[in-house]
């Protein structure tokens, strides 16, 4: 995945009046993503599916942090709630997998909204700490004996992998990839429209200056809680997809490392730049493998070095890099090769 391809999804963000290079690049990325699985082995498709799923989760986090300015180190918890909602509905209630996504979205919207209410009093790092607590508590909570009949306790729940419907000549992995891609595009479309709507402007106003926003008549408390809810819903849907693709949920899958991974993906992709989620997703899935490839014993250290280098070289994430390159090209007018 070269960063160049990702840049582009920003297309939809540009005003529709000018169909510029961003739109073409966006269409290009979607086309590449749509064609890729036809040429790849199932295992690689599985990895790409995971990349898309993490991208959706990071997109949700980006709405909260990048657009509304609230920090969260606890989105792994919402991912877990979404995953468990899907797993329980599929295995206990026998619901078809497709219907578990809206269900997971609603459950996570409510949990996010409710968590957002008390979190209103917290700002910046204090909010980060409160959400961090949520992430740490979640695996323990999932093991509680009271809810064990549904969650399966430490054992978790094993899920049956769905086949491609209507006799489409696709392997299970290819089908789930396209399914995830379509869900991802829908959610991306929703996010872009939300950001460019009246509500989106209110969210950004709160981020930039809460006092001024209130003076303009924005209901800060409501919008902040709503942002939490929507963000959690995105991440929850990603969790549900993750459960279906991995075919298994257990408390060990949702430790606070997951929340940290999502946060890292957000920063690497670019805070506030929605297409960056795809870069972030790729980072979460592939960089640990790259690090392991260098040296197994020092995988953690290599990962850390890569992360430090990235942040040092592009402090504003992939989003900032794209903007800089675009500016540079714009100023030169002549399209010299990047850099």
């Amino acid at each position: 995945m070269s960063a160049r391809e990702e840049i582009s999804v920003s297309a939809a963000k540009a005003p529709a009046s000018r169909f510029g290079w961003r739109n073409w690049a966006g269409i290009g990325v979607v086309l590449v993503l749509a064609v890729l699985p036809l040429f790849l082995a199932n295992f690689t498709i599985f990895q790409l599916t995971m990349m898309l799923i993490y991208a959706i989760a990071i997109l949700g986090l980006n709405l909260l942090t990048g657009i509304n300015g609230q920090f969260s180190l606890g989105h792994g918890a919402f991912y877990a709630i979404g995953a468990y909602t899907a797993a329980i509905l599929m295995e206990d209630a026998g619901l078809a997998y497709g219907w578990t996504l809206p269900a997971a979205g609603i459950v996570c919207f409510l949990s996010g909204f409710l968590f957002g209410l008390p979190a209103l009093r917290l700002e910046g790092i204090y909010l980060a700490l409160a959400t961090f607590g949520l992430a740490v508590a979640m695996p323990q909570f999932l093991k509680l004996s009271v809810i064990e009949p549904w969650t399966g306790g430490v054992q978790g729940i094993v899920i049956t992998k769905p086949d491609a419907p209507f006799g489409l000549p696709l392997s299970q992995d290819q089908w789930l990839y396209y399914f995830t891609l379509v869900v991802g595009l829908l959610l991306y479309w929703f996010a872009v429209n939300l950001v460019s709507s009246r509500s989106g402007r209110a969210l950004m106003a709160i981020r930039d200056n809460p006092l001024a926003a209130r003076a303009m008549g924005v209901n800060n408390a409501l919008y902040k809680s709503l942002a939490f809810g929507v963000s959690a819903a995105f991440t929850g849907i990603a969790g549900a997809l993750g459960a279906i693709v991995v075919q298994f949920v257990a408390p060990d899958s949702f430790t606070f490392f997951l929340s940290v991974a999502l946060f890292v993906g957000l920063v690497v992709g670019g805070v506030g730049w929605l297409p960056g989620a795809l870069v972030g997703g790729a980072f979460v899935v592939f960089i640990p493998n790259v690090a392991e490839h260098f040296n197994k014993a020092l995988a953690g250290a290599v990962y850390g070095v890569i992360l430090i280098l990235l942040i040092y070289l592009m402090p504003t994430g992939a989003g900032g890099l794209v903007r800089k390159v675009a500016d540079f090209i714009g100023r030169r007018m002549k399209s010299r090769p990047d850099r």
């Binding site: 430490v154 094993v158 075919q247 298994f248 257990a250 060990d252 997951l258 640990p288 995988a299």
Partner: protein, 406 residues
């Protein structure tokens, strides 16, 4: 939703048939095996909270190196590929798929963890690729009827629970048992094993006290157990809590016969912090020789292990049970592979793994042997009872079997 017409249905059936044919082709019996090599995969937490276990995989890798230096197995060199999953089940799925589909291994050996192995069990069986000797004591990995390609190795917790039950029935028939257990599968497996072992005498258990890993201490549970009038204390706790429990019993002046689960029978991590005086007389069980025990100083198997450690894993920790474990489980694999030379395929290897008869390992104490059959996927089920004499563990009595009496 129900508007699928018949033509679509036929198309669907065709596609399903093609898919089935494709899967069948995937599950090639000799994937990962050539005339000169066999590829063996492994998944281990090199990073993350459980990374201490990675010593096991390092020992496994060192053992494979030794095998290769000695000519390999069945004339084939072993290509051992080990990946990191950080103890996270979704990552385990990714790594298992990478091993099976990309690296094309013949089998996955000794992958570690209960949740992680559960996550890939269905997949491995669908791929008809052996998932041999998983590194966990959970009893669910010996289910040949539903998962004929998955096998455990070490004595599972249920078997060990039965071993203590058999000891009690024979030696303390009037026992009143108080049980302290961790409130998860690990604890419940032991408790179930004890109950199954006691059979219709299960009423001997007079008190059951669960604790959560989030509890700061188990003091109140211990007070309750003492109050129940039990004269046998079965301690099913992880090291920190096991030490607390032994210490608290001594403080309360409660002197029952104490049974300690093998998970926590480390002298350094449990008995020392609990106090040697308080730990005197505690009974536990083991299935591998202790490298610190002077009685094995001149033992043949122990000498072989020492030579192996010096030559192939010089920076490994000889005091750690992980290196003993890794050596023993690898030796079991060696015997399985060598027993499959005539039919060196996935199912041939599986068949060999499921037909071990009284196999001795270098590091199992005399009398403890590996036994499997087509219906018994629990290789090790016998344990040696041991008693703490205030300084070290002493073996006593005969080897007790945790297997169901056939």
């Amino acid at each position: 939703m129900k508007r699928i017409n018949s033509r679509l249905a036929i198309l669907g059936a065709l596609a399903a048939a093609t898919a089935l044919a494709a899967t069948a082709a995937n599950a090639d019996e000799t994937t990962g095996i050539t005339d000169k090599t066999i590829k063996i995969g492994n998944i281990m937490p090199y990073s993350g909270p459980a990374s201490a276990y990675s010593q096991i995989a390092k020992t496994d890798a060192a053992y494979m190196k030794m095998l290769n230096d000695n000519g390999g197995v069945c004339g084939r060199q072993i290509d051992f590929i080990s990946y990191d999953d950080g103890y996270s089940p979704p990552k385990t799925v990714e790594q298992a798929r990478k091993l099976v589909e990309s690296d094309q291994v013949a089998l996955i050996f000794n992958s570690l963890g209960t949740g992680t192995n559960t996550a890939i069990q269905k997949y491995m069986n669908a791929k008809k690729t052996p998932q041999l000797f998983v590194a966990t004591g959970a009893s669910k990995f010996g289910d040949p009827k539903h998962f004929p390609w998955t096998m455990g190795w070490q004595p599972d917790y249920v078997s060990e629970g039965k071993i203590y039950a058999r000891y009690l029935l024979k030696n303390i028939p009037d026992a009143k048992i108080g049980v302290l257990y961790q409130n998860d599968d690990y604890g419940k497996d032991y408790l179930n094993g004890l109950k199954q072992g006691l059979g219709d005498k299960a009423s001997m258990i007079v008190a059951e006290q669960p604790y959560e890993t989030s509890d700061p201490t188990v003091d109140s549970q211990m007070v309750n157990l003492k109050g129940s009038g039990a004269n046998v204390f079965f301690n099913v706790a992880t090291p920190k809590f096991a030490a607390q429990a032994i210490k608290k019993a001594a403080e309360l002046g409660w002197k029952p016969t104490q049974l300690l689960n093998s998970v926590s029978n480390s002298v350094g991590a449990v008995l020392k912090p609990a106090g040697f005086e308080a730990s005197k007389g505690v009974i536990s069980a083991l299935y591998l020789k202790d490298s610190q025990d002077p009685q094995w100083k001149d033992d043949e198997g122990m000498k072989k292990w020492n030579a192996f450690m010096d030559k192939y894993y010089a920076d490994g920790d000889k005091n750690s049970s992980f290196t003993l474990y890794g050596y023993s489980v690898s030796q079991t694999l060696e015997k399985v592979l060598k027993g499959a030379c005539d039919d060196f395929t996935h199912s041939g290897i599986m068949k060999s793994a499921a037909s071990m008869k009284n196999v001795d390992l270098d590091l199992t104490p005399p009398g403890i042997q590996v036994n499997t059959s087509a219906t018994d996927f629990y290789p090790l089920q016998d344990m040696q009872l041991i008693k703490f004499d205030g300084e070290r563990w002493q073996a006593f009595g005969e080897v007790v079997s945790g297997a169901d009496t056939q």
